[in-house]
Symmetry: C2
Subunit: 434 residues, 2 copies
Amino acid sequence: MFERLRGTRDFLPNEMAARKKVFSSIKKSVEEFGFFETDTPGIELFELYSIKSGEEIIDELYAFEDKGGRMISLRPELTPSVVRVLVSRAKELSFPVKWYSIPRLWRYERPQSGRLREFYQLNIDIFGSEDPRADTEVISCAIKLLCDLGFDESDIEVRISDRRMLQEFLLNLGITNYQDVLKKIDKREKISERDFKEMLAGISLDHTQINEIEEFLNSKGDFLKSIEGLSCAYQGEGISKVIFSLRKIAQSLNDRGYEKFITFDPSIVRGLDYYTGMVFEVHDRKREFRALFGGGRYDNLAELFGGEHIPAVGFGMGDAVLELMMRRKNIWPEEKVEIDLFIATIGDVEKEVSKLLTSLRNNNFKVDCDIMGRNLSNQIKFANKLGAKSLLIVGERDLNEGNVTLRDLESGKESKISLNGIISEPSKYLTKVL
Amino acid sequence: MFERLRGTRDFLPNEMAARKKVFSSIKKSVEEFGFFETDTPGIELFELYSIKSGEEIIDELYAFEDKGGRMISLRPELTPSVVRVLVSRAKELSFPVKWYSIPRLWRYERPQSGRLREFYQLNIDIFGSEDPRADTEVISCAIKLLCDLGFDESDIEVRISDRRMLQEFLLNLGITNYQDVLKKIDKREKISERDFKEMLAGISLDHTQINEIEEFLNSKGDFLKSIEGLSCAYQGEGISKVIFSLRKIAQSLNDRGYEKFITFDPSIVRGLDYYTGMVFEVHDRKREFRALFGGGRYDNLAELFGGEHIPAVGFGMGDAVLELMMRRKNIWPEEKVEIDLFIATIGDVEKEVSKLLTSLRNNNFKVDCDIMGRNLSNQIKFANKLGAKSLLIVGERDLNEGNVTLRDLESGKESKISLNGIISEPSKYLTKVL
């Protein structure tokens, strides 16, 4: 017997039915924000990732040489592919573009709760707008899609910051090895305060600087109030610009009714190297799970990929943590399949069944029938397993009078109807599952 | 600038919108036949394919060693994965099962018209029934889904045969190296008659045998009539069983109204090693393209994979030839995106826009808005590019009277409406795209 690879998943129809409901809810929410779906290959040139994806992702690549001698890789994230498409087809596009996709991604990691080797990840991105309204759209979309799935502000917290703010703050402290400090801050939540401080000391930060950083990172709170606080505490052209943009985002999110979801949290930096401005993460309030998702601004990636300057903001949300969180809250859809009708047969009635099948399916009903030659009681058992709403019994005896028996499998109510009637006007007798 | 790998594709939103319509039509058709969607990984153990997929597929595998030292492969076809799932989870299932999936597949081939290195392939299979009605269901589903896409009997031909029929025929001629002959027959359409005959002579067939084979393979025609002809020409227990089953399939397909689509064609054998009985291929009538799809019975694969005996019948249809055929007939959907409403703004009206966006999206409208600070005329141009059905102009002056302007972008008709009205009851003013 063969096994599937560790960290990959199979989905039977009932499991798939639940997942399809979740994905279709997500797509609906995202499309309400004017995002359009795109699609890109599952395999790409290796160099697409070696440029800017960050060491962690490079270490986890499924990369190999193809039969033509090219180094290629299964995609570990979508952003590089999307930016590649954007750069190569920019001339066809009217900016800003709002794109989404739910790609299958692969990372060679140690499989654990909420982390798989093959997973799906919703990606949404706005390209071509530097305006804070683009940031607001992206964050609002994140919140709305979670609400549409059944979450509310008691479940989730959106923690927002801005890398430029942190950079300005560090410059104010006389610290210039910004990228090094950023990498340490990204690891902060996984280690003790003492270890964190030691790490900072290890890259030549002094005691005062370290304490100031620690204090700054802990200044988490109400988004708009925090921004006002920062605007009093820090001056200068650089920081004013960042504060102006963050204030606009905070104000709009409040106007849109998302105030209770959002927190200003300067400790959020995000691992990926390519972020340049606003960054955010979504967590469950109880912090039982790893980040549900994260995103932010990455205004320089198109240029790095050989294109024009195209500002960008977006996020990626994996399906594994989402499923864990939905199951915990009991909002994962019921895992069951459904059809409209099962046709059970008694005797040789194949001609009539053929006519029924063609007519009902041409009228868009989901219909199945016996293909095993089972007795009636076993056919009915099977119809129930398929989640059939109705059962149509086609028997030789009934057919002598031109009749068939229609049974509602929920109520058990049964009635004799004319075979020709249901063939010519199925909608008079049946309703559709969806 | 980065390029995508040869034989892979990117889809922009307008291209994707057309493809989504095609895929959703296919899913609908298939679900009307009671097939349920499943999902399996894009990567599998290499051995899953080395067993029974046939040399051609093995040569084209994207196979490599993963970081844990396992030989793995991108999936080149779905059937082995589905059978793996079936065998490993047979105890949870109520047979027969009818499954479908539209996996992304990878084969390292020379990219050409209708043949790509990465493509999608609809797979449908019925497991657990030996009954010819299962074969009929699968072939009917193939025909129905093509009709639902806009094809008719003048476009497509379903050529059906049975490997056992050919085997019995060869045994009657005293030929026992059945598999060798089968491989030659599979190549027959690509070479001249003379080369074909030479190939057969090369595996020690004599002149009479070769001519009889050639005559048999050319005995293409009306399905039911051909079967009746064969039933007169050939006797014996083995062949009677095959004829009985083919006659039932032919009769049912006629009863279902698909007579004009189907032909009996004994030259159809299908490349894959695992087929055991009925085999079929779908072609465009003009034979401009390679086979649109093929399938058949493969009753032994579950056993080969270490499971019980689970009879199976199904087919796989790739998206590349389908797209070529649809474009040739001008039934490929229009490549355009659409949204319900674009909100254009004049002046500082952000609070009002925020309220509108939240309300309209909560009411499931697809809404976009300006995030560029453009002037009105450029906002309207952009709205048209997004395929917006309506335009809502929110301007400071109108707002003084509590009004906004709603314009139908198709008719150009415009009316002043109350801001509070459209916020509280959007469905009174707008209709949805879908």
